[in-house]
């Protein structure tokens, strides 16, 4: 492995098994097991995917729905264990998948910053240092001391984005750039995202917007039905993808 490589994926396979004849009870299970009609079809969500991402690179992943993009991101962030092949990632991975999933409705915004920060892997010192920054960015003001069940959904997303965006991780995983909050906040969050992407952080970026990908990424991986179609420079791959 090259020192410069941040993420190396080698022959990654992800196989799901699907039951066609959904077993509903133990009796049915026993019978079908006995009759050997218990058939499980398998489905390859990722099939022999290999690539490497260098430090500081913005790496895009494109493909149709169901091509395996999200599965690949989950494998890289360690949520899914691949059924075949290896993935190695250097440094801290910050998942920016579905914000706010670690929030607890009964806790205040203040308590949730620490809870969610801990879930994202930040240290206590880091959070205490950056607490003010997070509150300022979220524009929540005094509401930070109210339980978040009293928040509007926009306020909640703003808080979630602020917690996630304050860190400068080694690897940032972005599944669609988020349209959070009102227009002003959207501009602000997009700017922060660009800042991160330009600031030496390795970024894995998934989007359906080919323009965004072309604009932001250095290199692009094209997935189709779990297989790698091609890897290469952003503009070239995007051109071929749109024409296909």
């Amino acid at each position: 492995m090259d020192v410069q490589d941040q993420i190396v994926a080698g022959h990654v396979c992800m196989q799901y098994s699907i039951d066609h004849n959904r077993i509903k009870s133990l009796k049915e299970y026993a019978i079908s097991r006995f009759k050997k009609t218990l058939q499980r079809d398998t489905f390859l969500a990722l099939d022999d995917v290999s690539f490497s991402v260098k430090k500081g690179e913005v790496f895009g992943i494109i493909g149709k729905n169901g091509a395996g993009k999200s599965t690949l991101l989950k494998v890289i962030s360690g949520i899914l264990k691949p059924t075949g092949g290896t993935v190695s990632v250097q440094g801290i991975v910050a998942p920016m998948l579905e914000l706010g999933s670690g929030f607890d409705q009964d806790l205040t915004g203040y308590e949730n910053i620490f809870l969610n920060g801990a879930i994202l892997g930040y240290s206590k010192e880091f959070l205490e240092e950056n607490y003010q920054k997070i509150v300022d960015f979220s524009e929540l003001g005094e509401f930070i001391y109210s339980p978040i069940r009293t928040y509007s959904s926009g306020m909640m997303m703003r808080l979630a984005f602020s917690v996630a965006a304050v860190v400068v991780p080694d690897v940032l995983i972005v599944d669609e750039i988020l349209a959070v909050g009102d227009a002003d906040f959207q501009v602000k969050s997009r700017e922060r995202m660009r800042e991160l992407m330009g600031g030496g952080t390795t970024v894995l970026f998934v989007s359906h917007s080919i323009e965004q990908i072309e604009e932001m990424c250095d290199r692009v991986l094209w997935l189709d039905h779990g297989r790698v179609v091609d890897i290469g420079g952003a503009s070239e791959i995007c051109r071929r993808y749109t024409s296909s």
């Binding site: 799901y16 949520i79 998948l97 607890d104 879930i119």
Partner: protein, 488 residues
């Protein structure tokens, strides 16, 4: 470099804990560490008497004791309702197997008048050979009809409900004037046996210290080279995820009573109220003759509540956190562990009402309570082990939650929480002995009620009954955790 400092700190804590426990165990363990205390078993029900103890009467009763030193002899007799004062002279002797007298004392039979209970304390302790069959002999030297007491014998023991016949071998039967009777004398001999742990205590402690020293060296060397020894790995992840665990525990604790008016007071109130109800039920409707029933009951309730809370919270530990597990990578063990730890806070709070009840009932609080952290750790380990199996099973088999509700109840009735443990006899007692909670609760009760350290075997049993479930639970969890995300 910071890692080495962290490892050094962890090792220092382990050493301090080690020294503390060696010293505390020595000071508090006292006699229990050096001797095993035994007796000749339960006293039989007094159903027959041996007749008046008139001059020349000889009563002989052999007994077996799992020990080599006798401490005390208790004889149960009866002084009839005579017009004359009861009196006379008898000789009480203990003979060894060959018939040589080990102990001999002439005493006044007046000691047995009324519902007489004669107690002889051997001082110094009476040495009998271990695994021998000594004999108690009572010879009446002077006693005239009409003014002497009698001794009882019988062949059944009383249980909490009814009685049970016991089968006696000839050597266990009482003989009156050389004639074997169908029964055993109402008597009890208590004694003790030296155990090897007492004599080797410091040797064992030194050996453990040596082992620990070796382990420390090995770990430090590993830390310098940055190797992946299991212990170092554990330390690293503890350091990394400590903050997260703190946050999760404080969340669980804060949200538990968040919207209730009495809040954290419930941690005190709940065991108190449960105890009050059960105390009323079991001290009025079902009478039980347990000494200090309130403390007995509350100890059981507090321990069982903790176990029950941890396990039922663990059932949903993985499934309930599905939204996190599918989005962020966190070692999954953290979920059941954090739930167990937040219940731990609750448990520690509920020890306060226990303390209050102990003070109110004037139960003596002795230094033996210093041994409680051991029992608490065992209880935590057991609950966590069971919890891990449950949280993993729940992912693949959602019926687990309903099944566990039932099993939890069954387990509760299998554990002597509100009934005395001697109610359980025969094959049921084997089940009782297999119940880890029984051993742990028993440990609590010996420490709190008797104020002494349990026998060394109890430590081993508690440890094994906690470590095995924890190890099994952890292995099951680690084996299955990679497939969780596919099923939630």
């Amino acid at each position: 470099m910071t890692e080495i400092r962290y490892v050094k700190k962890a090792l220092a804590i382990i050493w301090v804990l080690f020294f503390l426990s060696v010293v505390i165990l020595y000071l508090v363990g006292g006699e229990q560490l050096q001797y095993a205390f035994t007796n000749t078993g339960e006293v039989v029900r007094a159903t027959n008497d041996v007749g008046e103890l008139t001059t020349g009467k000889v009563i002989e009763q052999a007994f077996r004791l799992d020990g080599n030193e006798l401490q005390q002899l208790k004889l149960y007799g009866y002084g009839y309702d005579y017009d004359y004062p009861v009196g006379g002279i008898m000789e009480v002797s203990i003979l060894d197997e060959d018939g040589a007298a080990l102990y001999d004392e002439t005493m006044d039979m007046a000691l047995l008048s009324g519902e007489g209970e004669l107690v002889i304390n051997f001082d110094p302790l009476l040495e009998v050979g271990s695994d021998s069959l000594p004999k108690l002999r009572i010879t009446v030297i002077d006693g005239s009809q009409g003014s002497v007491p009698t001794l009882y014998y019988g062949s059944s023991i009383s249980l909490a409900r009814g009685e049970a016949q016991i089968r006696l071998q000839d050597e266990e039967k009482v003989s009156v004037d050389g004639v074997l009777q169908d029964g055993r004398l109402c008597f009890q001999v208590t004694g003790r046996r030296e155990i090897w742990l007492g004599s080797f205590y410091w040797a064992i402690a030194a050996a453990a210290a040596l082992l620990l020293a070796g382990f420390s060296m090995y770990t430090l060397r590993g830390a310098k080279r940055g190797s992946g020894q299991p212990f170092l790995k554990m330390l690293r992840s503890m350091k990394k995820y400590r903050f997260l665990i703190e946050q999760l525990v404080s969340r669980d604790f804060k949200t538990k009573y968040k919207r209730s008016a009495l809040g954290v007071l419930w941690s005190f109130l709940n065991p108190m109220l449960v105890m009050t109800v059960q105390y009323i039920v079991f001290s009025t409707i079902f009478r039980s003759d347990i000494e200090n029933f309130a403390v007995y009951l509350l100890t059981g309730i507090v321990c069982y509540n903790f176990f029950s809370e941890v396990t039922s919270l663990s059932v949903t530990a993985i499934v309930g956190n599905a939204s996190l597990i599918t989005k962020v990578y966190i070692p999954k063990v953290i979920y059941p562990v954090s739930r167990a730890l937040s219940s731990m806070i609750n448990f520690l709070l509920s020890l306060l009402p226990l303390l209050i009840v102990m003070l109110v009932t004037r139960t003596k609080i002795t230094p033996a309570v210093l041994l409680l952290p051991f029992a608490v750790a065992c209880l935590l380990a057991l609950s966590m082990g069971v919890g891990m199996v449950l949280s993993s099973a729940m992912v693949f088999f959602r019926d687990t939650q309903f099944l566990w509700n039932v099993l939890n109840m069954v387990w509760m009735y299998l554990t002597p929480i509100f009934y005395p443990e001697n109610i359980v006899t025969g094959w049921q007692s084997y089940i009782l002995k297999l119940n880890p909670l029984y051993h742990i609760i028993r440990f609590f009760r010996i420490v709190l009620l008797d104020g002494i350290s349990p026998e060394p075997k109890a430590y081993l049993l508690c440890f094994a009954m906690a470590a095995v479930p924890l190890a099994v639970g952890y292995c099951v969890f680690r084996k299955t955790e990679d497939r969780f995300v596919l099923h939630i």
